[in-house]
Subunit: 342 residues, 2 copies
DNA sequence: TATTAGCACTCAATTAAAACGAGTGCTAAA
DNA sequence: TTTAGCACTCGTTTTAATTGAGTGCTAATA
């Protein structure tokens, strides 16, 4: 357990390092108004803190920098600055006052606000599949051989896929089938759509229609495709302004990661409800081992339906970011509820 | 006018610089099998070529590098390597053999092929608005206050927008209006849609319906929104592997550019039919003043309907890229024609 | 016993100087 | 017209010296 004084010193060091990105020396700390000890005393404490794993020393004659454990301690003992809180909360509420009525718009806007307010990389992601329901399926013929299949969810999201109509299939019959699918599947949770289609509907259709295996296959593909949830990112280049990314090799690594949607989804998807902070290696991903990710969930009908977050160096302004994320996710929840409540 | 020998030397220098990214010295050139002159002779010619503006010297005791003018000469005098041509053409044709039947799929796939075959940044862009026609408008109610408006083009592209239904508007009337719009606007070029809606249809509707200014406004907005053509990019990080981008500041500049869709569209949109090469400052954009962009157009019904291209350092493998782009655009044209011909 | 002044020590970063060498331009000979 | 030869240039690399921020330890102090 850390003594009162050790805690003070540790927090002061992390604060300072977050601000200046330089190893912090004992004299720097002892000069602070809120610390009434000589540099020698600080040095002793620092040595202890290092031994306990909260600090690291780049080399013998340098100051200390926080370890992951140090950041973790800092984050777990953060006290929010009430003044800033009020300012930022107001600002976000104002920015969200505009009229929105689309999921995508909201996500996009939220990502923009985040990256511009924090100067880190922001992302917004909805795992809609868990709570949206099918509103309607439509088929619109393009020409003799192809048609567009459209699915609309109750949140106004539209998925479409162009299909090739198999030889010898009558277009009217196809239309009938779509109608039938509608009566059977309307209101089904998107997550259950595929299995219901496969288990119940297919069997029934085949009883009184023939040669529809192909077309059913196509429709099933359309539903399957839905898997790629979109991640809205903004300010990917913000991270390049951080001094820890002066090396192009590091930049390449991380930008590469940004290009791989699946990896992003894996990293961001499994977040617990509320605010979560993952520091450095806690993210289990080599490329961002010196980055932290802070996420917050937003809700619909009291269930978490999406994640909004920030990626920055471990040396991140945790307090500020958490405040902003907290406020933003709340606003998103409010707006969503307003728009989509029945 | 350059002498035969000057041309040989210039082309050799550009070749070498493209390959090794190092200033080329006179001895390097004189040692090549196809050049039968001493380094001293080469030096004299180099001095002349520099005076003529084809070469530059980073400093007195360094070799020469090509100027933009030098690259321009090189590109204009490229002779394609027939062997490589055959190999790459075959490879692309094979990669395009899969089944595609969607615009987006094709664009995405094309961008992937491009970036992986060239190791530069690739982009694919369709200016569909100039040649697609409206197939159908649909309105699907979500709840009492909102509905989704869907537009489908004859190329199977689906645009959608959630709208808020103004107070006091009857949903059935709304549906009637959509039906009416369909009869009037089906087959209209997307580019002309807005003006037709505004000039002809609105007037007529207002004659026998009242209080529909609001809802018409909403519909008009939906059409307007269509403007943001999507640019498919792949391999944005490839460019970071080029030695000319070892400096993070340069990287930041160019990645910033990539984030600004409008700027990209401006740069890429105004391309002439066929293959075009713009070298360095010819692109009129500070951030890519040491990059070249090579583009090719693909066609539908003999009209150019989109652009596919590569962005890389001015020190680019022009021959290879041109071959690939030529072949790829041809394949895209073929596939598009196959799918969408009536 | 806890704190601190004092001092020797460490080591990355900076600066200065020296050596290197790739490549040039020019001249004079072939 | 071509080329061998050579002095010269100038960025790069190497080496050495200097600096200074910061530490750890010890002995004195409160």
């Amino acid at each position: 357990m850390l003594t009162e004084r050790q805690q003070m010193i540790l927090l002061a060091i992390v604060d300072n390092y977050i601000q200046f990105a330089e190893p912090v020396g004992s004299r720097t700390i002892s000069k602070r108004d809120d610390i009434g000890f000589s540099s020698a005393t600080i040095r002793n404490e620092m040595a202890d803190l290092e031994e306990l794993g909260y600090l690291e020393q780049p080399h013998t004659s340098a100051g200390r920098i926080p370890s992951n454990k140090g950041y973790r301690f800092y984050v777990d003992h953060l006290v929010s600055d009430p003044l800033r809180k009020i300012q930022e909360v107001h600002r976000i509420r104002r920015l969200f006052a505009d009229q929105f009525f689309e999921f995508e718009q909201i996500m996009n806007h939220a990502a923009s606000i985040l990256s511009s307010m924090t100067n880190y990389t922001s992302f917004v992601m909805g795992h809609e599949i868990n709570h949206t329901r099918l509103k309607m399926i439509q088929m619109i013929p393009l020409n003799d051989r192809s048609a567009v299949l459209i699915m609309v969810t109750d949140k106004g999201k539209v998925e479409s896929k162009t299909i090739i109509i198999p030889e010898g299939i009558n277009k009217d019959d196809l239309q009938k089938m779509v109608n039938y699918l509608n009566t059977r599947l309307q209101g089904t949770l998107m997550a259950e759509l595929r299995s219901r289609l496969h288990n119940e509907v297919t069997v029934e259709i085949q009883r009184y229609m023939q040669d529809y295996e192909q077309i059913l296959q196509v429709i099933e593909d359309t539903f399957k495709k839905k898997k790629d949830e979109r991640v809205f990112m903004k300010g990917t280049t913000n991270i390049l302004m951080q001094p820890e990314f002066r090396d192009v090799e590091k930049v390449r690594e991380i930008l590469n990661l940004f290009e791989q949607n699946e990896v992003l989804i894996r990293i961001l998807g499994s977040r617990k409800d509320g605010i979560e902070v993952r520091i450095g290696t806690e993210n289990n991903e080599q490329a961002i081992s010196n980055c932290s990710i802070i996420t917050a969930t937003y809700h619909f009908d009291d269930k978490p339906v999406g994640t909004v977050g920030i990626l920055g160096p471990t040396r991140m302004e945790y307090g500020k970011v958490i405040t902003i994320l907290h406020s933003l996710s709340g606003n998103m929840t409010r707006v969503l509820q307003n728009i989509y409540k029945d």
